[in-house]
Amino acid sequence: MKKFNREVGKKGEEIAAKYLQGKGYKIHERNYSTKFGEIDLIVSKNNILSFVEVKLKKGEDFGTPEEMIGKNKRAQVERMANLYLTAKPGISEEYNSFLIDAVCIVLDEDNSIRRISYYENIGF
């Protein structure tokens, strides 16, 4: 099960990365992970650095992916983002604004994409 989750996560990240690249974002990191946790994607566009949380769900019968991102998840991403910025001072110098974003993906039974939604600045 654990292994399966990771696979799903990886797949979500790929879809999200492709989607964001299509929107003109530059990808900095994929699945940046430390022993404290991980950030799915770190991207940038227009001098804004975004930390992206990706959620993928197969069908919406057991709740939407949006529901899965709560206050705790946002706080965790922010904590990780701060860690990342401390670890790479160069990047924090380069950018002024930092956002926490989310990409929610819903797949159909046959693994085709039913919908994909991008939320900017969910940390607020």
Binding site: N96, F98, L99, E120, G123, F124
Partner: protein, 522 residues
């Protein structure tokens, strides 16, 4: 960028200036925090401000925003900080330029970017004047309260968009003219619907006369009578014979009403004399005032007006006894950890009670079913010191059936020589005349009615002839009256003299006053 916007916090009837410091950071994670001891209603300002700005068409900055309400050690409450916070954010992101002169911003935002009626604008204007603030930006609905104060520019703000245009010099908001008689409706007692007219009350001539005296001199009155005799009706009809507030009185009342948010939107100065009723389950704090941040109670809300307590003995004893000190002083000091606040509470008390639990003690036709013990217990609720503070005590007996049948509308009085019963309008004119005499007498003394005279004022103002003095002396000796009752008797006599437009207190006036004195043992 850091901007500072001035606003105010209310503590009792005083407004303290509050500096709303807004910093929009250039760097960092987006966030919005308010510090400086805000309560829940200010915490929620975040959502109101954010939504109002977005709905006004402003790009809300995705940046870290910190709002500090300084001085940070005063607890703050209310929704009035919405506007200063919004203006602070707008100035920080350089959408508007703040005025160079000192200005107060004040008001609650609606989600659509409009401004809502906010309580306390009158007090804000008073504070602004004493602090030499030049401009006042307040919600349009509340602006009339502020226009009563001279020497300050009052800008009625309808919406954030209007304010942005004004501050940027695109479209100016027209400032309100100073005007004492503001209020959109301009309503007065005449246009206001009064529940009962005195002419509708059948019989009860002596009670009506006592009510007239009470209203003329602001004396406390206690009515005792059988159920259905018309005590409540008499009290409610009294609302229609109260004189309008004079200017100083109106300012005092408006202060309290502004603090509690009792001024309807669009109204300015309160000119109708307050008439408040409190149910007998009212708590002591509800009546006297209190709370961790002290708020005025019913006695302060009826300042310069009437407080009607029906079913007087049904109130809890603690509540009634708490009335004693404010009745004497005309104000009430509420002391809490947050500080001590004095609210004015110079009210005229109308109290109504049955003589016993069943209500028919002393009724000529119906038998009282109460045991003596029950009657004693009932009457013991009203303590001596409390009753001593009430100037007029009257009995309201049941109305004669003949009178009711012959004269259901009571346009005439059955069996007596006088034709028409006086209606409220006529009585009110008498009362107004008597009050004018009193206002002239106490000019500059911060007293408006005979009931509020201190003993030294009685010496200064009341002219009693020798015969009346003798009568008074006799009464004191035969009835064993207390010193307080003695002075209260003189005050009532003075009011009766004022009603008959006599310069001196004559024996007839004293004799009438004696009728209304406290009766024990009947």
């Amino acid at each position: 960028m850091l901007t500072k916007v001035l606003s105010a916090a209310h503590f009792g009837l005083e407004a303290t200036p509050i500096e709303v410091e807004v910093n929009v950071f250039k760097k960092g994670f987006p966030g919005f925090s308010i510090i400086g001891l805000p309560n829940k209603s200010i915490e929620e300002a975040k959502e109101r401000v954010k939504t109002a700005l977005i709905n006004t068409g402003i790009d809300f900055p995705n940046l870290k925003i910190v709002v500090n309400l300084a001085p940070a050690d005063i607890p703050k409450e209310g929704s009035l900080y919405d506007l200063p916070i919004a203006v602070g954010i707008l100035a920080s992101i350089e959408v508007v330029n703040l005025p160079a002169e000192k200005s107060f911003f004040y008001g609650e935002l609606s989600l659509d970017g409009g401004l809502r009626h906010t309580k306390g604008v009158f007090l804000l204007a008073l504070a602004g004047k004493s602090l030499k603030i030049k401009n006042l930006f307040v919600p349009n609905d509340s602006a009339n309260e502020a226009s009563v104060i001279s020497g300050i520019n009052v800008y009625p703000v309808r919406s954030l968009q209007d304010l942005i245009n004004h501050l940027n010099g695109i479209v100016r908001i027209e400032k309100l003219k100073y005007c004492l008689s503001t209020g959109r409706s301009g309503r007065s007692i005449d246009s206001q619907s009064i529940e009962f007219d005195f002419s509708e009350i059948i019989g009860q001539e002596s009670a009506k006369r006592a009510m007239t005296i009470a209203a003329a001199g602001g004396h406390n009155i206690f009515m005792q009578g059988t159920p259905g005799a018309g005590k409540t009706m008499l009290a409610r009809a009294t609302a229609g014979i109260l004189p309008p507030l004079n200017e100083e009185e109106a300012l005092e009342v408006t202060k309290i009403y502004s603090l509690t948010g009792n001024i309807p939107p669009g109204e300015g100065l309160i000119k109708t004399r307050p008439f408040r009723t409190a149910h007998h389950t009212t708590s002591r704090i509800g009546l006297i005032g209190g709370g961790s941040i002290p708020h005025p109670g019913e006695i302060s809300l009826s300042h310069n007006g009437v407080l009607f307590l029906d079913e007087f003995p049904e109130f809890s004893r603690a509540t009634l006894e708490a009335l004693r000190q404010p009745m004497e002083d005309g104000r009430v000091s509420i002391i809490r950890i947050a500080g001590s606040i004095t609210f004015p509470a110079s009210f005229m008390l109308i109290a109504a009670a049955n003589p016993c639990p069943c209500g028919y003690l002393g009724d000529p036709k119906r038998e009282c079913k109460c045991t003596p013990r029950m009657v004693m217990k009932y009457q013991a609720k009203l303590s001596g010191p409390l009753m001593d503070r009430i100037d007029l005590h009257i009995n309201v007996p049941a109305v004669d059936v003949d009178k009711l049948i012959t004269n259901p509308t009571s346009s005439r009085r059955g069996g007596t020589s006088r034709d028409a019963v006086e209606n409220s309008r006529q009585i009110r004119e008498q009362v107004i005349k008597a009050r004018e005499i009193q206002n002239k007498r106490f000019r500059g003394l911060q007293i408006y009615i005979n009931a509020n005279m201190k003993n030294k004022h009685i010496k200064d103002f009341c002219v009693i002839d020798l015969q009346s003095l003798l009568l008074l002396k006799q009464a004191v000796n035969t009835y064993n009256l207390s010193a307080r009752t003695y002075f209260r008797l003189i005050k009532v006599s003075q009011t009766i003299a004022d009603l008959s437009e006599s310069k001196k207190i004559l024996p007839a006036h004293v004799a009438e006053a004696l009728q209304y004195r406290i009766r024990s043992g009947d």
